[in-house]
Symmetry: C2
Subunit: 335 residues, 2 copies
């Protein structure tokens, strides 16, 4: 083999950063039976996300009360919503309701779908400056004319309770550093593992998907917990061969039922971070929620599994409250 | 299995970030023969880092000349050195000499080993403010009384030609973002792969080690190039089993000869980013340089390999020049 690519032109250099190709997974269904390895008819322990969330929320409520009693202050989460998407309204409703439950105050700043970029950025800046606000999140997706990166970057890293600011992501990636906030869904994955006493150090962990919401941060967190981490994505050849070696599998795919039972090693721990709407005329809203994992198959192979719905979702919301509480504690020097 | 760890105390939450344990590898030697799989007596192509560096430097020199001729400006690299370490002086000498070769100006700001933190931070701040300086690096290691993180953080991300600022690391990690600078050694690994036409997309890549200098950034870069990346570290059990599945192996260990021939799949591409001084009374300075890879064994198994010395090292220096040139181009809007 000889040196194939000797040049770099005026524009800079070789493309060391690679091309930013979209992650498009093939669709999948659970309809065909797979040759699932069976654990002698055993069934995995199914993690109840609602009960974990209830415990976390109860502890947060206690802390919020202690803060109010001690320093007379209350954590506050502010949410910027641009436009009128139904799903965004639903998600915000869930977040606001969760804040109410634990005594965290919340405010929603609503902007018209056709607001200018300056107006949207200013809305975030105003929340940055407001000392009574401790967490600022921008509900995604944004209308197409707004630049998501710009909006994320303008959030004060000290109020970045979603953990998507590159400064927080950088600190998460670097040994010896601590981000101010870790993305909530990724933190939930680790929370579930720790809470159930699942050993992470020295284990083979495979993360399927690499979004900023789950895949990327959870792969970094697993490494911080000394797992040997492999990241699988749509360009991975034979992903099943990699997942079958994993003690811990975390999925962040967005394709219902893509991860089949025969992708898993018997006894694996499976955390399903997918929440996919699947058309279902039998349901009131015309769809049901499905995870990335073909649950009926996986539950017969795994040792522990999170269901969808009712698994990681509720825990994730409680982590948003936890991040907001942490931020308020930091702001007031309250320990 | 039941919920083992239900609580989080006043101090915050479960340790979602993990403990920052030091990466300590067992020592290794190449002295015992290993059962090396042989490629029928074949020998890997050995990459000549000096000739690659010469090509890159020649192109940089042309660009620097074009910049001088067109806008009358010259890129400038500034290096902050604290204390009197012999090895630091040697490294700086190499960098300054390389700058000279391509027409990049350089300056070394020398501070006494017992300077205060404020003095050290101010030295960096002054370089940040100086519009004639385009790259600022702090020679590591620093004396113990100085906080390396604080020093890195004060470098303007727009002059961070080492690429160690968390903002640049965060942008490197995140899909859809571009860091202003990528750490030089990691960029060199990718450069060598691209230059030799080695396919990265869809390949299994294993990175051994996870330092901010090589392991972390190269694992992120390989992912950007659509490799399936696994990161091996001292807590990995049976690292050989993982490396043996790899089409591309990049090492960043700091232990001479740790990666043996029988750790490799026949035909693998091996990039050795280790530069380890090994005691050797037969040498003038009392040591010789060795890589992380047991070269004599690996060269019989791999298809392509970088030697140490003379492999990645020279390319890395040329990447520092390339980053400095890029920074100057950006500063002057010169394309």
């Amino acid at each position: 083999m000889s040196q194939k690519n000797s040049g770099f032109g005026k524009s800079g250099s070789l493309n060391h950063l690679g091309f930013d190709l979209p992650d498009v997974w093939p669709s999948a269904t659970c309809s065909q039976p797979s040759t699932t390895p069976q654990s002698d008819g055993a069934s995995a322990e199914i993690i109840d996300g609602h009960s974990i969330a209830a415990i976390i929320k109860s502890q947060i409520a206690d802390e919020v009360k202690r803060m109010k009693d001690t320093v007379g202050k209350q954590p506050c989460l502010a949410i910027v919503l641009v436009g009128e998407r139904d799903d965004s309204h639903s998600f915000i409703h869930i977040k606001v309701k969760a804040c109410d439950e634990v005594g965290i105050s919340s405010s929603v700043v609503e902007l018209r779908a056709d607001c200018t970029e300056d107006e949207a950025l200013e809305a975030v800046s105003n929340l940055n400056k407001d000392p009574s606000v401790h967490g600022v999140i921008v509900q995604l997706p944004l209308p197409q004319h707004l630049d998501e990166k710009k909006m994320m970057d303008v959030i004060d890293p000290e109020k970045d309770v979603d953990g998507f600011h590159p400064l927080n992501v950088g600190c998460l990636a670097m040994k010896g550093r601590e981000p101010l906030f870790v993305p909530c869904a990724a933190k939930s994955c680790i929370d579930v593992l720790l809470r159930f006493g699942i050993e992470i150090a020295g284990k083979n962990a495979v993360v399927i998907g690499r979004s900023k919401i789950v895949g990327l941060p959870v792969s970094l967190l697993l490494q911080r917990h000394q797992a040997t981490v492999s990241v699988v994505h749509p360009f991975t050849k034979k992903p099943q061969e990699i997942t079958r070696e994993a003690d811990i599998v975390i999925t962040d795919v967005g394709v219902p039922n893509m991860i089949r039972g025969n992708w898993l090693k018997p006894g694996a721990v499976v955390i399903d971070a997918g929440t996919n709407a699947v058309k279902d005329p039998s349901k009131e809203h015309g769809f049901h929620l499905s995870g990335d994992v073909c649950f009926e198959e996986a539950v017969r192979v795994a040792s522990v599994i999170t269901p969808v719905p009712g698994g990681l979702g509720p825990v994730t919301i409680s982590m948003l409250l936890s991040n907001t509480l942490d931020s308020a504690k930091r702001a007031y020097g309250f320990v």
